[in-house]
Amino acid sequence: MSAPISRDEVAHVANLARLQLTDDELDHFTDQLGAVLEHARDVAALDTSDVPPTAHPYELTNVLRPDEVRPTLDRDEVMAQAPASEDGMFRVPPVLGEAP
């Protein structure tokens, strides 16, 4: 059976998660993620055609709240937590391109 995940795939996932991994770390996590996926393969081998997909471990649905305004935070308090702010806004590094 082929390896559950390749080193390149791990590098890709790390890049998507903005993680910088050394070569040693890449090897290490390729093994570790492989072991996790190996376990998933065991589960995938079971016949689950009669089992409805699970969206959440609790069998709850429609947990809703009424559309009523609640108090908001004090802006000075919020800005005091920010690494940088200006004119009541969060100051962040320049944004490249548009939001997805």
Partner: protein, 477 residues
């Protein structure tokens, strides 16, 4: 459907358009927290631990947002299903959590359609619920995004409930795309779930455009953003289709990418290539449980939906004996009720529709009493008023609420008898024999001169159509 844009595409090319429309729901609070859903407040004053993504905070779904989303979905003839929220992961400062909560493989509304005024249907793939993002302002470096020195972020809008309506690629002209957005907007307003203002961003349209030869598979598409008006939408689609055709005819290929419409220079510009990994790693949102409306819930939603524009067009068209498209303006102006009552009271349908289309685009038209309107149309079709006089009386009626009889009497409007009219025409012919000779030779431009002169002589009381007919009759005699 108007086919003007298709006709202008060269060499038998056809465009294929699919629209994605984001609509901000007008709930009192945000989707997952009790912060006010309000436009125009001081930056970062409508925020709390949930919409700031602070550790330990948990989202709870707003019941009204779900109800509004289902109401819109049912108005678009969608099936409402059990749905699951999902995280769309990306790194961008407009979402403080580094993900946006949306719906992915199990959206609330699926497989619907919308009817355009000409009766054609455009498919709706899905209409799902998601949260809006914050707003960034780019500072320094001349204001251009890619030159920005830094960005400032306001999270007042982060977490505001949205419905994203994903249309099928059924549209073939820019005009049809504009009609689709107008119709969608009218439906959103009818079910009262948003103010749907394109210029203020409470309704945002992205257009997927590709070109092909009819019957061939779909071409590679580009997504156009920054369409803030119906005008931009139409212009951007036409520009983009031509750009793609030029490339293909030059033997190049289309690269799938997102492009930004620049209203000032009338072009689309590349934003980013979709060939770069666009991998959002969607997964079910572990902090929220599924939505699973019962049949009774959906039935209650259906019962709350008022007659929709397409139904209203059909009702009026049936009563007036015309095509639904001819009733579109009345419905758009919310005057179809007036038209229906006037027609029922015996007014000539074509005059009713013409007055509403041409003469009632004014404030207060909705206060016009249908019975009086019907009487005015009766006076016009009965020959007591000319078309021009009827228009004047109608304007007065809207202004003052008085009866057409009173206004006509006060203004001294009475039908000109044919004899008097003929006398005036004969006098004019005698005075302007050169122009008359030219008219008799078939110079239609001179017709306007004679009609204008008659109108002047009769202080506007003559019926323009009758004058034209009389002139023709005399020229042929």
């Amino acid at each position: 459907m108007s086919d003007t844009s298709a006709a202008t595409l060269p060499n038998g090319w056809e465009m294929v358009i699919g629209l994605e429309v984001h609509c901000e729901l007008s709930t009192a609070t945000k989707l997952f927290c009790g912060c006010p859903n309000q436009f125009g407040n001081e930056p970062n004053t409508n925020v709390c631990p949930v919409c700031l993504g602070l550790p330990g905070s948990l989202p709870v779904v707003n019941a009204s947002a779900v109800e509004y989303a289902m109401r819109l979905g049912r108005a678009l003839h969608c099936d409402v299903h059990r749905s699951v929220f999902a995280r769309k992961n990306y790194f961008y400062p407009d979402m403080p959590k580094d993900y946006q909560v949306s719906q992915y493989d199990l959206p609330t509304n699926v497989e619907g359609w919308l009817e355009l005024p000409d009766g054609s249907r455009v498919g709706i793939e899905r209409a799902h619920i998601e949260e809006d993002t914050g707003k960034s302002t780019h500072v320094g470096g001349g204001g251009r995004i890619h030159e920005a020195g830094y960005s400032l972020v306001d999270y007042n809008r982060a977490g505001v409930p949205l419905v994203e309506i994903v249309g099928k690629p059924d549209l073939r002209t820019a005009e049809a795309a504009r009609q689709y957005v107008s119709e969608l907007r009218a439906i959103i307003l009818a079910v009262d779930v948003s103010d749907a203002k394109m210029e203020e961003g409470s309704m945002r349209v992205d257009a997927n455009v590709s070109v092909r030869r009819p019957g061939e598979p779909f071409g590679t598409r580009c997504e156009i953003k920054n369409l803030n008006s119906l005008r931009s939408l139409g212009r951007a689609i036409d520009y983009e289709a031509r750009r793609q055709i030029d490339l293909l005819e030059a033997g190049e290929r289309i690269i799938q990418q997102t492009r930004h419409w620049d209203e000032a220079d009338g072009r689309t510009h590349t934003l980013r290539s979709k060939e770069e990994a666009e991998d959002y790693r969607y997964f079910a949102e572990p902090d929220l449980v599924p939505l699973d409306p019962t049949e009774a819930d959906v039935a209650a939603i259906d019962a709350s939906i008022p007659p929709l524009p397409a139904d209203r067009r059909r009702a009026l068209a049936d009563a007036a004996g015309v095509e639904p498209a001819a009733a579109a303006m009345c419905v758009e102006r919310d005057l179809d009720g007036l038209a229906l009552v006037a027609i029922e009271a015996g007014a000539a349908p074509d005059r009713v529709l013409t007055h509403i289309d041409n003469n009632l685009a004014v404030d207060g038209a909705d206060r016009l009493a249908p019975a009086l309107f019907a009487r005015l149309v009766g006076m016009e079709t009965g020959g007591e008023l000319t078309a021009t006089q009827a228009k004047t009386v109608l304007a007065d009626m809207v202004e003052t609420g008085r009866s057409p009889e009173e206004i006509a009497a006060e203004r001294g409007f009475e039908a000109m008898d044919t004899g008097a009219l003929e006398g005036i025409v004969d006098e004019l012919i005698a005075e302007h024999s050169d122009e008359w000779a030219s008219f008799c030779d078939g110079n239609q431009k001179v017709a306007g001169f004679f009609v204008g002169a008659v109108m002047k002589a009769t202080k506007g009381q003559a019926d323009g159509k009758a004058v034209t007919a009389l002139l023709r009759q005399k020229a042929e005699a």
